[in-house]
Amino acid sequence: MPNHTFKLNGETVDVEVEDDVRLLWVIRDLLGVTGPKYGCGINVCKACTSHINGKAFNPCSVPVGAVKPTDEVTTIEGLADTAPGGDLHPMQQAWIDNDVAQCGYCQPGQIMAAVAKVRQCRAEGREVDDAAIEELRNICRCGTYNRIREAIKAGAEKM
């Protein structure tokens, strides 16, 4: 069986599984890291949003065979370590300050997408405004969208 190596939340991991198994299941079912959630499996709901080399992506739609040993995958569990100081990433803190989460199921993906969106806006010299936030496709079935907006704007200021 093929062996796969990559970096997950700062640590090198090693896993034996067929090439075509999607990374989400490798992370969750084989490596036991459960922050990224299943909501559709077809890159639509964005509940599994994580980062690869600092950019938002959806591991439900990436075969593990496409991940290189040098790739750094970050899930919600590793987000805080990517920011200087503190126990939490500023976006996580903004989420708590705004009491965004309701059931919490989609929120790891929401936060990971939000961080990437802020970075993208910065890189493109755009403001993190409602128009930018409306580009986010993450579903929250509890309907917390308006608090998410507030939190992203607050978190962006601290990033």
């Binding site: 599984v17 067929e18 075509d20 198994v21 999607r22 990374l23 989400l24 299941w25 490798v26 969750r28 079912d29 084989l30 459960t34 922050g35 990224p36 959630k37 299943y38 909501g39 559709c40 499996g41 077809i42 890159n43 639509v44 709901c45 509940a47 950019k55 938002a56 959806n58 591991p59 439900c60 739609s61 990436v62 496409a66 919600i76 939490l88 996580q92 708590i96 009491d99 965004v100 989460a101 309701q102 059931c103 919490g104 199921y105 929120q107 790891p108 936060i111 990437a116 969106k117 409306e134 986010l136 496709r137 579903i139 079935r141 509890c142 309907g143 917390t144 969208y145 308006n146 608090r147």
Partner: protein
């Protein structure tokens, strides 16, 4: 000139309502439970605290109180829970914490946090010092372990307070002994009881001494509302940190030994079932697969990863039996509904008769966490983990399915990833038990998104017909006839309701009729005002989706209210303010209009709309602004519904006593976003015996690009009502009504069906029904940002 006019609403005397003053002076009976440490419980078996008989406050043609005004669904559920309220105990632990296992289900409503607050208030603790967990299924609680109808806080508020107050009293008594001081000079703060000399003792040191040697009843007086310091203050959810760090565990996150991922291959038809499997051996040899068995609802595959389960499910060759609605579609079901419609009774001819009929298509209450459960079934026992709002019924059904006694089934209630009524049922738990038994192994069963969308429970298709007779400036009759595909009521809820529903005025109703009659209030003085339900079609998987019948009924009702107002030449807001039945309700309508700047100038193609709703011992009024201009309606977003956009919502709600205003606002926000979806964008289409929608790119729940940029939610903080009402579903109906009314005002067109876009061309190519699961893409690295 009309012969008589509707006079304006008269104010009630403004003195504090007598019932509110009564509550704080009343003493309650609690129970000291014999235990090594202090354990207390509540004994509730007396008259309802809530004086819910309203005083009519308007005159024209006052409508008699409708059944739901006298005895509503919350009363039904609370009364069914009364006899067992004393089995719910507060325990003071030796480490000084206070613990309470709430026999309810948390799916994001925030009841764990609000329950911590209620106990903390009575015991002068910080909410963090109170540990609230979800209780396992406890059959001895009978009807008191049911989460539904927004009833949790209403039904548990007083029993929990009584138990907590009794515990506080016992601890003070024990401290008085230890400190050799009179109780009256002691203070209790943050789990520390302090005497006048500054000497203090922690709860943990006192709990053994305060423990009761024998179980006995004791009287207790509750804290005055005026002295509350925790209740009514905004508080962030206790698990907010766990949720933003990925530490919160949902069912499929659990690591139960050997419980491998399991997925069921399901039929193309709704409720089809497997006859035979052609390639079992080949599937069993697929990578990662450990077991494949045919079960009642399909063919179950257990594998090392869910991905491998799905690959195997899609490779299965199954011969399927036809489903329950084989060959049918939306319009054939609608024809059947129409044949079951009840007649409108009031004769036409008195003044002007206005009639309306609206169709409401199927909607999905699928939450983001799909149906799931873990089952470990052994020879004579079973252990189940899963989200469940009625775990006792689940435990009973699972035991019957497995052929073992109910007490051999342990049901651990997990926090759910959303419910919206879906988790009143336990379809996945029942299946997981069946599959685990068949395989002889533990399984972690999960429905795929397409299963959840196509085979999962739905809000039923329905029609609402209204006839109103308008005479001059009065409404002499207002009849609502709601005809629906049957809403399946889960065993736990239906037993609770049948146990108490005979108390409803005019009693002796079926379960669904009971729910309808105990939830529907036409909040206006409309003379003879009646609401009836008929249900006609039992072949669908349905459930009580958030706010059950009210989103549809309120949409139709508020549209008719606007028509009546127009007929009389009155402004929609002023009409509601004038005709609403109670002063408490009028206050909310007036406040919403004021906060929303009702009547302000709006651009062509945009409009405000107003809707009100009375339910859950409370009252709500929504004012929305809707943009129906072509540049908005036609904006293009990939794989999305756009259409008319709600640009602002003002929502005023009086839910009675507010425990956690932040939690209440959160529930309203969710309800408002649900209302957008219900009214504008989200529905299921039945075609050839199955629902077309297989995922979130087909079923258009509200997204960031739909949600109102402005939302102003105002929770009334000085309600006359003495107790907390229901919150979880209360954002939906009033908003639905307001959006529908705004659409008519913006476009001049009255829709005959909802959601508005149901008959528009589908903005997607449907996924095939066979194989059943859309395969995961492989290009995820091309869409990074």
């Amino acid at each position: 000139m009309p012969t008589h006019r509707a006079t304006t609403t008269r104010s009630r005397p403004t003195a504090e309502p007598a019932h509110r003053a009564d509550v704080k002076r009343r003493s309650f009976l609690g129970l000291l439970v014999a235990a090594p440490v202090l354990v207390t419980a509540a004994e509730i078996g007396r008259q309802t605290l809530f004086d819910s008989v309203p005083d009519a406050s308007a005159v024209a043609l006052p409508s008699a109180p409708q059944p739901a005004e006298l005895y509503d669904l919350l009363d039904v559920i609370r009364d069914s829970a009364r006899p067992t309220a004393n089995l719910i105990t507060v325990k003071v632990n030796k480490d000084g914490t206070v613990s309470f296992a709430i026999p309810r289900s948390e799916n994001g409503q925030g009841i764990i946090t609000s329950t911590q607050m209620i106990i903390a208030e009575e015991m002068n603790l910080d909410p963090d010092q109170v540990v609230v967990t979800l209780a396992d299924a406890r059959p001895e609680l009978v009807f008191n372990q049911l989460t539904g109808g927004s009833s949790t806080t209403f039904s548990t508020y007083t029993p929990i307070r009584v138990a907590a107050a009794l515990a506080q009293g016992r601890l003070l008594g024990a401290a008085a002994n230890e400190l050799d001081q009179d109780v009256s000079v002691l203070t209790s703060r943050q789990g520390l009881i302090t005497g006048p000399n500054g000497k203090s003792l922690p709860f943990g040191d006192l709990t053994t001494k305060a423990a009761a040697p024998v179980t006995e009843a004791a009287n207790v007086v509750l804290k005055d509302r005026e002295k509350f310091t925790v209740i009514g203050k905004a508080r962030t959810k206790s698990d907010a940190l766990a949720m933003v760090t990925g530490k919160k565990k949902f069912t499929t996150d659990l690591k139960i030994p050997d419980a491998l991922p399991t997925v069921i291959c399901r039929a193309p038809d709704l409720n089809g079932f497997p006859r035979s499997v052609g390639n079992l051996a080949a599937i069993r040899a697929m990578p990662g697969v450990t077991d494949v068995v045919k079960v009642g609802t399909g063919v179950a595959v257990r594998a090392k990863t869910y991905g491998q389960c799905i690959d195997a499910v899609n490779a299965l060759e199954v011969t399927w039996a036809a489903g329950t609605v084989s060959g049918e579609d939306d319009e054939s079901v609608l024809r059947k509904l129409r044949r079951g419609e009840l007649p409108l009774a009031a004769p036409k001819g008195l003044g002007t008769t206005l009639e309306s009929e609206h169709v409401f298509y199927f909607r999905s209450n699928s939450s983001l966490e799909t149906n799931c459960a873990i089952a470990d079934v052994r020879a004579n026992s079973a252990t189940i983990w899963g989200p469940a709002k009625s775990p006792i019924a689940a435990q009973n059904d699972i035991a019957r399915k497995l052929g073992i006694p109910q007490n051999a089934v342990t049901f651990h209630v997990m926090e759910g990833g959303g419910s919206f009524g879906r988790k009143l049922f336990y379809d996945a738990a029942l299946e997981a038990a069946e599959v685990s038994q068949a395989m002889g192994k533990p399984v972690k069963l999960m429905w795929t998104r397409s299963d959840d969308s196509r085979q999962g429970r739905v809000h039923p298709m329905a029609t609402t017909r209204i006839r109103a007779n308008v005479t001059g400036d009065a409404v002499s009759s207002f009849e609502i006839r709601h005809t629906s595909v049957a809403t399946e009521v889960n065993p736990g809820l239906s037993e609770a309701i049948t146990a108490t529903a005979q108390k409803v005025p005019g009693g002796n109703l079926t379960v669904s009729e009971s729910i309808f009659v105990t939830t529907q209030v036409t909040p206006y003085n409309f003379g003879v005002s009646t609401n009836f339900l008929s249900e006609v079609d039992m072949r669908f998987n349905t459930s009580s989706m958030r706010n059950i019948y009210s989103p549809d009924v309120a949409t139709a009702r508020e549209l008719m209210v606007d028509r009546i107002a127009a007929r009389m030449g009155k402004d929609p807001y002023e009409f509601r303010s004038e005709f609403t039945k109670l002063e408490r309700w009028k206050k909310v309508v007036d406040r919403a209009a004021k906060e929303a700047d009702w009547g302000k100038s709006m651009a062509d193609g945009t409009a405000q709309g107003i809707g009100m709703h009375v339910e859950y011992k409370g009252v709500a009024c929504a004012v929305v602004e809707l943009d129906c201009r072509p540049e908005t309606v036609n904006r293009e977003i990939r794989s999305a519904r756009t259409g008319p956009r709600v640009t602002k919502v003002t929502y005023v709600v009086d839910v009675g006593l507010v425990i956690n205003p932040r939690g209440v606002r959160a529930q309203m926000m969710g309800g408002i976003n649900d209302a957008l979806a219900m009214t504008l964008t989200s529905s299921l289409h039945l075609t050839d015996g199955h629902f077309v929608e297989a995922s979130w790119d087909n079923y258009f729940y509200t997204r960031q690009w739909n949600t109102p940029p402005e939302m102003n939610i105002i929770v009334v903080d000085d309600s006359d009502a003495p107790e907390p009402g229901g919150v979880g579903e209360f954002g939906v109906a009033a908003t639905c009504g307001a959006i529908a009314c705004a659409y008519v005002r913006a476009t001049g067109k009255t829709p005959s069906y909802f959601p508005l876009d149901h008959k528009d061309p589908l903005p997607f190519t449907p996924y095939p029904t066979s194989p059943p699961v859309p395969p995961s893409p492989v290009n995820g690295l091309e869409t990074t940002f």
